[in-house]
Structure formats: structure tokens, C-alpha cells
């Protein structure tokens, strides 16, 4: 599903003139298989988010070949990548990134709106998904009226609403307490099993990584160990 080959990236820091190059990713090669949950594990600052940002097309790496769903993505323009994201990706962020002015229902419907799906169809799809993630009760609540766990469920539903083949999750449980964390991880697992959606989860937490079918470990911008684990 995703094949990354020799991904190299470094950030320029410091004032103009006295810039230094800080290498963040030093030749990362990895593979994400269709229908699997893949975890990328690493300490804070190891370059996990940078890797995800490259996959998502939020930034261009110094060099790499990236193939996603059969398409070479490093050469795509900003507009082309936006379209590609709308088709192929759903996103789950550590701090949920919900629209404060929209209800849970409308937050989930947002990607469909952007896609240009008419209202009737949209409402049908959202209602269906609300049931699946257990949010029927709070559909008309605004984000500030929801608990952290509920907000993350809304954001997971938003990621799934367009039925993308791949979900990219950056520290999806980073803002949750351990009990809610387990609920959310269970939800991810069951969605993966029921829908066959591919998940890429970035985390610093061994426990979170434990739900994955496959784990990669990043250390100082290099993969130190990769391997297949069986699902819990």
C-alpha cells in the first residue's frame, strides 16, 4: 500500500547566513501493507511526525521515492496532493483538530462537504458512521461539549467518512487517559478488522504499538528494527 524508499530529510535552523542543517530522517525505507495496522514507534524528536508529514504531502522531503496506492507521490503539486489526500487518506491527530464552530455531526460531514457530496447522501453516511463509533447521543454537541475520548471518536469518524483506504494517525491517544486510550485503540482495531482499512499509527508508547500488525522503530532518524507481530 505504501512503499517508502530511502527517505532523507534535514531541517535548516538558525538565522539567515548562519544556518545549520539538522538531519532528521537519514534514509528511511519501509513498507505498509494493505489491511494491516502499522505502528511507527520512537522517542520524541526521533522524526516520526516528519515521516508522516511526508506521507501526507504536508511537506516535501529532500529526497525519497514514495509510492502510495500505486502512485508515485513525491512529484505531485500542492493542488494534486490535496486531491490525493481527499481520495486516499483519513487523518487522526493527537489534539483532535475539530472545528469548534461545528457540531460533532457537521465535523464528521466536513470531508464529504469538501468532496462535494450532496446533503441527503451526506446525512445518511454520517448517521451510519455515528452509530458505528457510538456517538449517536452527542451528534449535535459542539467539540467543547465533548470529553477527550468522544472528541477523538468524532475525529476518527471524520477520518473514515470518505472511506479512504489509509488512515494516518499521529499520536492518536497522546491526549487521552489510559482507560480512554484503550477504548480508542479497541475502536481502531475493530474498524481495521471490519472495514479492512489500513492504519499507520505513530506513537512513542509501546502499549499503543502493541495493537499493530507490524512495527517499525525510529531512532535518530533511522529505522533500527522492523518486524511483524501478530495481532493481540
Amino acid at each position: 500500500m505504501i512503499a517508502v524508499n530511502h527517505l532523507v530529510h534535514s531541517f535548516k535552523v538558525g538565522k539567515k547566513g548562519g544556518e545549520r542543517n539538522i538531519p532528521v530522517l537519514k534514509g528511511v525505507t519501509l513498507e505498509v501493507r494493505k489491511g494491516e495496522v502499522t505502528a511507527i514507534l520512537g522517542k520524541s524528536g526521533s522524526g516520526k511526525s516528519t515521516l508522516l508529514h511526508v506521507l501526507a504531502g504536508f511537506m516535501k522531503p529532500d529526497s525519497a521515492t514514495v509510492r502510495i496506492a500505486g502512485q508515485e507521490t513525491t512529484g505531485l503539486s500542492a493542488a494534486e496532493y490535496a486531491e490525493f489526500r481527499l481520495e486516499h487518506f483519513g487523518f487522526i491527530f493527537q489534539n483532535f483538530q475539530l472545528m469548534p464552530g461545528l457540531t460533532a455531526f457537521d465535523n464528521i460531514a466536513l470531508p464529504l462537504k469538501i468532496k462535494g457530496v450532496p446533503r441527503g447522501q451526506r446525512e445518511l453516511n454520517v448517521l451510519q458512521l455515528l452509530k458505528e463509533v457510538g456517538l449517536q447521543e452527542v451528534a449535535d454537541h459542539y467539540p467543547n461539549e465533548l470529553s477527550g475520548g468522544q472528541q477523538q471518536r468524532v475525529s476518527i469518524a471524520r477520518a473514515l467518512i470518505t472511506e479512504p483506504p489509509i488512515i494516518l494517525a499521529d499520536e492518536p491517544t497522546g491526549s487521552l487517559d489510559s482507560e480512554t486510550e484503550q477504548d480508542v485503540l479497541q475502536l481502531i482495531r475493530s474498524l481495521n478488522e471490519n472495514r479492512g482499512t489500513t492504519f499507520v499509527i505513530i506513537t512513542h508508547d509501546e502499549e499503543v504499538a502493541a495493537i499493530a500488525d507490524r512495527q517499525y522503530r525510529l531512532h535518530d532518524g533511522e529505522l533500527v528494527k522492523g518486524g511483524k507481530r501478530h495481532a493481540v
Binding site: 508529514h53 487518506f89 464552530g101 469538501i114
Partner: protein
């Protein structure tokens, strides 16, 4: 994104900042209303003077004062040639009898103005009758609308000199025989020579109610007989006092005027005055619109600020939209639509307010001005003053400027929104 959803998106955003949006719309409204009202004064005064110009003379009339390099009076053949020009309906040559004369009917007398003319051409030009018919023989005449009320007995004459207004002749004038007395200014012993005429028709009432039409139109052929027109041996007497050509309609006036000029005639028509007047007022209007546009530009600073703040405030949300897969073009369009909306609503309100202000100004100011003039003793009662006029062209121009400026001032912020970096935006605190 469907257009309907784009509208909904903008509405939702503006709702969240209702007061700020309202204030920006207010600023846009004030700027645009100022522009319209200011320029409307130029349009109003132009209209007032134009109406005045057009109502004070026959607009299709082209006065012919003479011909270049001849100094010679215009001959009957030349008149005939002018008559043949395309767009010309009639050429009227009127001679005013200047020597003392009076018109008598029984015991009544009228010091009417005697004019020699061709009644057929007069009728083609602008003469309409309120009674009777055009003359069928040279001894028949047409009298002016006010001829009867100026036909007075001796007592009535005295009364009218005292400032009273006597009724004048009440009967039917058609078919009556009048006697004309003309004092010869040339003869050593001035004494009246007399002619008799039958009244065939009475002219229509003049359009302007203050105008008095007390004329007697006598046939051309009497030129030879009236003493004043009979030139003594060896002397030149101008045979025509006034020659006017009449165009088919106002649109033809300019062309006829031009072709007469190229033929070498000295002419004057209303288009001459209209050209200068239009030039003056068009410059004035452009100037007023320019000054008004400055107000719109000041309001646009408000729109720029509002939109810049809107973009800054929503940086994180824009980041999320882009992350989900919204096109940069869509983001730009949403913000442009928002500033356009401010411009459109502001303009619509401004148009409504401008019409109200314009109506108010037209009610108040002419009354005040006329009162002041009346106190000064200057009579301007007949004048119809329009201070402010808003033609549809002004509404179109002002809308164009106002909405255009709103969109231009929203352009930079909208552009900035598309350039927002997703990673930076998502890092922002909630």
C-alpha cells in the same frame, strides 16, 4: 464543494463574528452611499439645467443667422435648398414688423406683434392650432393663443394699465375680420395705412404657462405692401429677421447643424449648448465619483482588516481543511466570497439609503432655495430644481466600484489563506 455548501460555510463564519461583520458592512455601506449621494448632485444639477434648456426652446429648432463670406441675406432659393437637406422638416422665415402697428376689431384694439411668415412651413415646424384652420387665402391670418384676451376696449385698456386683468374678447374669433393699421416710419407724414384680414385659426396654448402668445401671422406676400419692408430707392433692407430650420427630431438636430455649418451657414441649435453643458457636467460627475471613490477606498481598509483577522483567526481551521484535502483554490474562493458578500450587501444597503437621502434632499433643499429667492424678490417659481438624481447608470457605476474594491481588498487575505502551511497551522494552540 457544492456552491450551496460554500454559502453555508461563509454564513457560519460570519455568524461567529456577527458584530465585526456588521461593522464592516456598515463601513462599506457608508462609503458607497457617500459616493452615490455625492455624484447624484452632479446628475441632479445636470438634469435640472438640461430640462430647463430643453423646455425654454423648441429643441428641434436650428437658428440660421447668416452665411459666411457673403454678408448677403439668405435668399428664398437657399431656404429651399436647406429644406431639401436630409432630416429637415421645415424652414421658417419670419419677419417681425417693427414699426408701430395696431389691430382693430369693432371697438377693440390689440397692439399685437405682426409677423410675416409662410403658414404652411410654420405648421410643419411647430405651429399647432387650438381652433380654426390654416389660412387658405392670402387675406387670412392666424392669431396667437392670447390674442383674444389682449383685444381690449378703451375702458379695459385703462383697467389693465391700473394692474387689473380684464377679460378681453369673449366671442369666437374664427371668421372675424380684423383691421391692421401700420404707421409708416419712412413717410414724412406718418399716417396709418390699413389692411383687412380674416382670422382663420388660433394657435395652441404655449407649453410654458408664463409665456404670452400675442402674435398675428400674416402671409409672406404682404412684404411688398407694408411700408416698413418696402425699401426706398438704393437702400438695402434685410428681408428676413429670423430664419429657423426645424429638424425631424432631436436626434437629427446635430447632423443638420453640422451639415449647415459645412455649407457655410452661421447656425445655432440646442445641441451647441448641450455639447458644452454635457462636457462640463460629465467632468463634474467624474470628479464627484472620484472623490466618492476615496470614501469607498477608506471603507475598503476596514474590509482588508476584517478579512486579514478572519484568516489569522482561522489559520488552524484552514490547516485542517487543507489536511483533509481542500484545494487551495477553494480556500481562496471562500474568503473572496466573504469579502464580496460584504461588498454586495454594503452596496445594496447603500443604494436603498441613497435613494432615501436623495428623495429627502430633493424635498428640502429646493424649498429652502426658493424661499430665499422669494424673499430676495427673485422669481424662480417656474423652475423645477432637482438637487439629487440617481439614474441607473450611477447605481451600476457605484456598485462596480464598491464591489470591485471590496473584492480587491479581500484578495490579499484570501491569497494569504491559501499559503498557510498545514504543519504550522496544526501546531497552533486551540
Amino acid at each position: 464543494m457544492l456552491f450551496k455548501d460554500q454559502i453555508g460555510f461563509i454564513r457560519q463564519h460570519m455568524k461567529r463574528n456577527r458584530l465585526r461583520t456588521a461593522m464592516t458592512v456598515l463601513a462599506a455601506t457608508m462609503g458607497c452611499a457617500f459616493l452615490i449621494v455625492l455624484a447624484s448632485v452632479g446628475f441632479g444639477l445636470h438634469k435640472t439645467l438640461m430640462d430647463e434648456l430643453l423646455s425654454n426652446q423648441t429643441v428641434t429648432e436650428i437658428q440660421i443667422h447668416g452665411k459666411e463670406d457673403s454678408g448677403e441675406p439668405i435668399t428664398a432659393e437657399e431656404q429651399e435648398l436647406i429644406r431639401q437637406l436630409p432630416g429637415v422638416d421645415a424652414v421658417v422665415a419670419r419677419s417681425y414688423l417693427e414699426s408701430p402697428s395696431r389691430v382693430l376689431l369693432d371697438d377693440r384694439l390689440n397692439r399685437a406683434q405682426i409677423i410675416l411668415t409662410d403658414a404652411e412651413q410654420e405648421a410643419k415646424a411647430e405651429l399647432d392650432l387650438s381652433a380654426g384652420a390654416l389660412p387658405s387665402s392670402r387675406n387670412e391670418v392666424i392669431v396667437g393663443y392670447h390674442f383674444a384676451e389682449n383685444l381690449l376696449t378703451e375702458q379695459e385698456l385703462i383697467a389693465s394699465e391700473k394692474g387689473e386683468s380684464p377679460a378681453g374678447y369673449r366671442g369666437d374669433l374664427i371668421g372675424e375680420t380684423i383691421r391692421l393699421e401700420v404707421m409708416s416710419s419712412e413717410s414724412e407724414e406718418p399716417g396709418p395705412e390699413t389692411w383687412e384680414f380674416t382670422i382663420a385659426g388660433i394657435a395652441e396654448e404655449p407649453a410654458k404657462d408664463w409665456r404670452v402668445d400675442n402674435l398675428v401671422l400674416v402671409d409672406e406676400s404682404f412684404r411688398e405692401e407694408f411700408p416698413v419692408f418696402t425699401a426706398p430707392e438704393g437702400e438695402e433692407v434685410a428681408p428676413y429677421f429670423e430664419i429657423n430650420a426645424y429638424a425631424e427630431d432631436l436626434a437629427a438636430v446635430e447632423a443638420v447643424t453640422e451639415s449647415l455649418k459645412t455649407e457655410g451657414y452661421y447656425v445655432y441649435s440646442v445641441t451647441e449648448e448641450m455639447t458644452t453643458m454635457n462636457l462640463f457636467f460629465n467632468v463634474l460627475k467624474a470628479g464627484l465619483i472620484f472623490v466618492g471613490t476615496i470614501a469607498v477606498l477608506i471603507a475598503s481598509i476596514g474590509i482588508f482588516n476584517t478579512m486579514t483577522m478572519a484568516v489569522t483567526e482561522r489559520t488552524r481551521e484552514i490547516g485542517v481543511m487543507k489536511a483533509i484535502g481542500a484545494q487551495p483554490k477553494l480556500i481562496q474562493r471562500l474568503f473572496l466570497m466573504e469579502s464580496a458578500w460584504i461588498g454586495i450587501v454594503g452596496t445594496m444597503l447603500a443604494v436603498v439609503i441613497s435613494f432615501a437621502v436623495s428623495a429627502l434632499v430633493n424635498q428640502l433643499i429646493p424649498n429652502i432655495v426658493l424661499n430665499i429667492l422669494a424673499e430676495d424678490g427673485a422669481g424662480a417659481e417656474g423652475m423645477n430644481i432637482i438637487v439629487s438624481d440617481i439614474p441607473w447608470q450611477l447605481v451600476v457605476i457605484a456598485s462596480f466600484i464598491s464591489i470591485g474594491v471590496a473584492m480587491v481588498s479581500g484578495w490579499r487575505p484570501a491569497r494569504k489563506a491559501t499559503e498557510i502551511d498545514v504543519i504550522q497551522a496544526l501546531r497552533q494552540e486551540l
